[in-house]
Symmetry: C2
Subunit: 219 residues, 2 copies
């Protein structure tokens, strides 16, 4: 999943997939401003200023502040969905696929915690049509995790009393990494991901796989 870090919020060039360059810089500035001050306290003038551009230059790329939030939210949610569907479609046991989903999903939320917070906390600020679109992406993310857990239950690998609630709790646990990661985290995104994969396998009472998932159960 190295590509995720390189294309969204990576160290070298965040949001490299967004072009042209001015549109990319504005998106980076918008994430920072929304994360620091909240969507409603941020003006398009603030965002243009952070990007070293004029408000008029911003309007060439984004007609409204909401369009910026929608762009950020859609890219963030599409990455999350890609991570979860890749794991759901992967080869291997349900435990291996669930561990993979959690490891990569946590890594993304830790490594891109500023984007993730905007994506998660500013959902209500989206316009009705954009919100519907994003809720559909979230429904599909949820479905990918449920699919893995259901497969594990059917194969007798997992013991889960209530699959939808467990899938929601797994995603919730991983998403909240974006809230605390910067403040209290003493570990790398990779280490948190591996530790969480182990915790989630416990939540579904997974039988110990023959080969332990890579990096799980760290001291």
């Amino acid at each position: 999943m190295g590509t995720v870090e390189e294309t969204v919020d990576g160290e070298d060039k965040p949001w490299a997939e967004v072009g042209p360059e001015a549109a990319r810089r504005l998106l980076v500035a918008a994430v920072e401003a929304f994360a620091e001050r909240g969507y409603h306290a941020t003006t398009t003038r603030d965002i243009a200023g952070r990007a070293g551009m004029s408000p008029a230059a911003l309007y060439i790329h984004y007609k409204t502040k909401e369009e910026l939030l929608h762009r950020i939210s859609r890219i963030g949610h599409e990455k999350a969905l890609e991570i979860l569907e890749t794991a759901a479609d992967a080869e291997g046991t349900a435990a291996e696929r669930l561990a993979m989903a959690v490891r990569h999903f946590v890594r993304w939320h830790a490594g891109h915690h500023m984007t993730a917070r905007v994506v998660q906390y500013e959902l209500d600020a989206l316009g009705p049509e954009h919100r519907t679109e994003i809720i559909e992406l979230r429904r599909r993310s949820d479905a990918a995790v449920r699919r893995i857990i259901n497969d594990g239950v059917e194969a007798g690998e997992f013991d889960v009393p209530y699959v939808p609630g467990t899938a929601l709790a797994v995603l919730s646990l991983c998403i909240d990494v974006a809230r605390w990661f910067n403040v209290e985290g003493r570990r790398t995104p990779d280490e948190v991901g591996a530790f969480y994969a182990d915790l989630v396998l416990r939540m579904v009472s997974a039988r110990k796989p023959e080969a332990e998932p890579r990096g799980a159960a760290q001291k």
Copy 2:
């Protein structure tokens, strides 16, 4: 723990412990405004207006907007700490105490999700002294959960590879209920609390207690 719901954000009279009445109404209005629009996008004029009061009347009770946030944050964190320390100090096995902590902590975060979001997401907006005070309350909350988990490990009840990381994950899982509860929840705060208590006992690989914790492991 019924008193928690009655004294903070309860159905009948939220924040009943705060007085006089005008100060209480302003606090309720501030929680709503901060939760809806964010701290930075909210003015003291907005808050006074929501409470049906003049800005001048607000200043009698709160000198700054930050004072309102601090008051909300301190009461919220003190309630959280009370819930967790009560469970840590309770009689019973570590599994029973951990289940009690999770059940009540989740119930509070589900039942008071608006307050909880403000308390959790606007930490950076507190002034330095107030932040230090709140971080100390959080440290003590964390310590209460670690204490229960450590007791369980020492008694051979729990199998946990890394206690501090597990305590953080348990709190994080419960806190994030405040983010999704209103949007996706189909269950009562009590039901979510009972379901989560079971999930957390799985996270610590608790041995099945002789009598199952009340309400855990619902279908």
